[in-house]
């Protein structure tokens, strides 16, 4: 009887293993899909190790639950054989008394062996559930590449635009913008309506920058502010009773603000020949003018972007000595942990890419 029982035991154990592996595999792909899709849709990029761990966790969880549900022992196997093969508890009895001696027990064992030897097939229990698990696994496997391709567009396939990282506003840009606002407030050139309007637009831009902008949205915000400043000047000039001379002064003031905005944020400035290089008024402490960073072709020239040195005031970033000095400061800040590696990368990529290339060479 023992050989026949072991044969069926092996068969049932394989069946259990198949169910557990299928349940684990199904749970694995379901977990991967469940995590992959929302993560990628929200732009969360995880290391491949995490995906591996999620897959492994799903497999262990699904397989473990299936094992708890389907696990079997000799007694259960015997009960199943008796039940499915209609053996009238022969196998259970033989198993229960397998270590006991007795003539009747010998007869019983022989009878059980005889009954089992005539059986060649054993039905696959929970076949529907197993097929369902296999179907879930197959569907999950099919869905994985679809989800991966769909999500690989970074924004979940909603557009084909590349990933737009956030744009950190540097300390110098904040300071320069604040100084520009103070300059306009203190300026005697434009009339009050124009000044109030321009200051309002600049402060609105500042508020937007505080709330956070992306690399691509910053030029749009600046361009909107530029348009609004020009509209403000135009409206002010169209008001009744404004002298022609004042109109000219208002326009010059507006164009100066526009030019400074382009300079502060290192944006290419449309060349219309209408932009003054110097402030219309000498208010004494205005930031130095940028040498002009717009080539008209969209190429960004950063050599002329001014740096604010607490000791010297504004200095030119085009000066190699200055650039090397500030590059060293930033390097130290990163090494000391004052700024993060990511911030360092951003600053270097923006202002010191040439120095970094030299260093790498």
């Amino acid at each position: 009887m023992n050989e026949q029982f072991l044969k069926f035991k092996k068969r049932i154990q394989i069946e259990t293993a198949v169910k557990c592996v299928l349940a684990g595999a199904a749970a694995c792909v379901v977990a991967l899909n469940a995590v992959l899709l929302p993560c990628l849709l929200n732009g969360v990029h995880m290391l491949w190790v995490w995906y591996l761990l999620i897959a492994l966790g799903g497999f262990c969880l699904g397989g473990g639950i299936a094992f708890l549900f389907f696990r079997t022992d000799d007694k259960k196997i015997a009960a199943r054989l008796d039940s499915e093969l209609h053996l009238n508890e022969r196998v259970q009895t033989a198993l229960m008394y397998k270590d006991e001696e007795g003539k009747m027990l010998d007869l019983q064992r022989a009878d059980t062996a005889s009954a089992l030897s005539g059986v060649t097939k054993l039905s696959f229990r929970n076949l529907a559930l197993t097929i369902a698990l296999a179907a879930v696994f197959a569907l999950g496997v099919c869905a994985l590449p679809i989800v991966a391709v769909y999500a690989s567009t970074d924004d979940g396939g909603q557009s084909t635009q590349p990933y737009d990282p956030p744009r950190e506003v540097t300390d110098w840009e904040w300071q320069a913008l604040d100084e520009l606002i103070d300059y306009v407030k203190a300026s005697q050139k434009a009339d009050n309506n124009t000044k109030t309007g321009i200051v309002g637009e600049l402060e609105a831009l500042r508020s937007m920058l505080v709330s956070g902008v992306s690399q691509n949205s910053l030029p749009v915000f600046v361009q909107n502010t530029v348009s609004n400043v020009r509209n403000t000047v135009r409206d002010a000039n169209e008001a009744e009773g404004v002298q022609e001379e004042q109109k000219t002064r208002n326009s010059e003031e507006g164009e100066y603000v526009v030019k400074r905005l382009y300079e502060i944020f290192s944006l290419p400035q449309p060349s219309d020949g209408n932009t003054p290089d110097t402030p219309p008024d000498n208010t004494g402490d205005e930031p130095p003018k940028a040498p002009g960073n717009n080539t008209g072709t969209g190429e960004l020239i950063i050599d002329g972007v001014p740096f604010f040195d607490p000791e010297k005031g504004y200095v030119s970033s085009g000066d190699p000595e200055v650039r090397e000095k500030y590059y060293a400061i930033i390097q130290n800040a990163m090494l000391e942990g004052t700024i993060s590696r990511e911030e360092w990368e951003n600053i270097v990529a923006t202002y010191f890419a040439d120095l970094r290339v030299n260093e790498e060479e």
């Binding site: 508890e89 229960m96 007795g102 003539k103 009878d111």
Partner: protein, 335 residues
């Protein structure tokens, strides 16, 4: 003789008994099988059926087949206990002195047919209690053992109620089986008529003796029972008790009172015999289910709710079996 030969003898003997009884009794195969089971298991049988269905003929035929001392007691209202057990009579010995001597009653046989047992008074019926359970008779403070094997096969008529005395529960409990002898089919009726046209006498031959019966009983005792099956039978008995906390809905709804522990003993003893007759060397759930009707039907009483729904005891037993079957292979039967 080794066990294999014993088992072969067992099967052969059972087949021979059935064949010989078949010579005198048409149909009633289930009744004959159950009577044989009870006889091998050492139990008493109560046969209930309308007059003329062959109850008495079956027992008489069995008496011939078993080659055992057979006696028949016709129970009547004026039958006295001493008429059954025997009594002390005063006699003169060889020296002419008076002495009392016990004169054995008809109960001193191996196979006793208690015909129409419910026609005797409770006083006389109670004389059967000790005999049926302990296989001995006590008269005037002296106990006389009966020779083994000993069985009481009683008959009763369910229709005729005038002048009958329902058997007390204690006595009912001493019958291992209560078998309902049904009315024969048309074909069987024709066979009965044809057979009795030749002769009314029983023509069965003796094929087994008392020793063989005892040997068969000993062999059956060796049949193993796994704990799951044992507990399945015990649960079935327990389910007949509505007062028990773990009894099922059926008992609570339909049963007035349940079976005694003798039912549990009867289940296992009879199931072992049935298994061997079926060609198995172990007891199965099927044995328990099949024996539930003859073992339980006279030991439990259904209530008015069951009667109101026109359920018989057997209907309730069917419900109990269905309820109990849910425990098979569920792990609830683990010892």
């Amino acid at each position: 003789m080794d066990n294999k030969a014993q088992v072969e003898n067992f099967s052969r003997s059972v087949q021979q008994i059935k064949q010989e009884i078949k010579k005198d009794l048409v149909g009633q195969e289930d009744i004959v099988s159950n009577v044989i089971i009870a006889i091998i298991a050492g139990g008493n049988v109560l046969l209930e059926g309308v007059p003329g269905v062959g109850k008495t003929r079956l027992v008489r035929s069995l008496g011939k087949v078993l080659e055992l001392p057979f006696s028949r007691i016709q129970f009547t209202p004026d039958l006295m206990p001493s008429d059954v057990t025997g009594t002390n009579v005063i006699e003169k010995d060889e020296a002419g002195k008076m002495k009392t001597e016990f004169r054995r009653g008809p109960i001193f046989a191996n196979l006793v047919l208690a015909d129409e047992i419910n026609r005797a008074t409770p006083k006389t019926q109670s004389a059967m209690l000790e005999v049926m359970q302990e296989h001995k008779v006590t008269v005037a403070g002296k106990t006389y053992p009966l020779s083994e094997p000993f069985f009481v096969l009683a008959t009763q008529n369910p229709i005729e109620q005038d002048g009958t005395y329902p058997l007390p529960e204690a006595q009912m409990d001493r019958f291992m089986f209560k078998l309902l002898v049904g009315f024969p089919s048309v074909e069987e009726l024709a066979d009965i008529v044809n057979m009795t046209q030749i002769t009314m006498d029983e023509t069965a031959n003796a094929v087994v003796n008392g020793e063989t019966i005892l040997a068969m009983r000993e062999l059956a005792k060796q049949v193993p029972v796994v704990p799951d099956v044992l507990y399945y039978a015990m649960r079935l008995v327990s389910r007949t008790h509505p007062e028990l906390p773990d009894s099922g809905e059926v008992a609570k709804k339909y049963i007035k009172y349940g079976c005694s522990p003798r039912a549990s003993q009867a289940f296992i003893t009879a199931a072992k015999v049935r298994a061997l007759i079926e060609g198995r060397f172990n007891v199965s759930y099927e044995d328990i289910d099949a024996l539930a009707y003859p073992i339980l039907r006279h030991r439990m009483k259904i209530n008015y709710a069951a009667m109101n729904e026109k359920l018989t005891v057997d209907d309730v037993i069917t419900k109990l079996i269905s309820e109990n079957a849910k425990d098979k292979n569920s792990g609830k039967l683990d010892a």
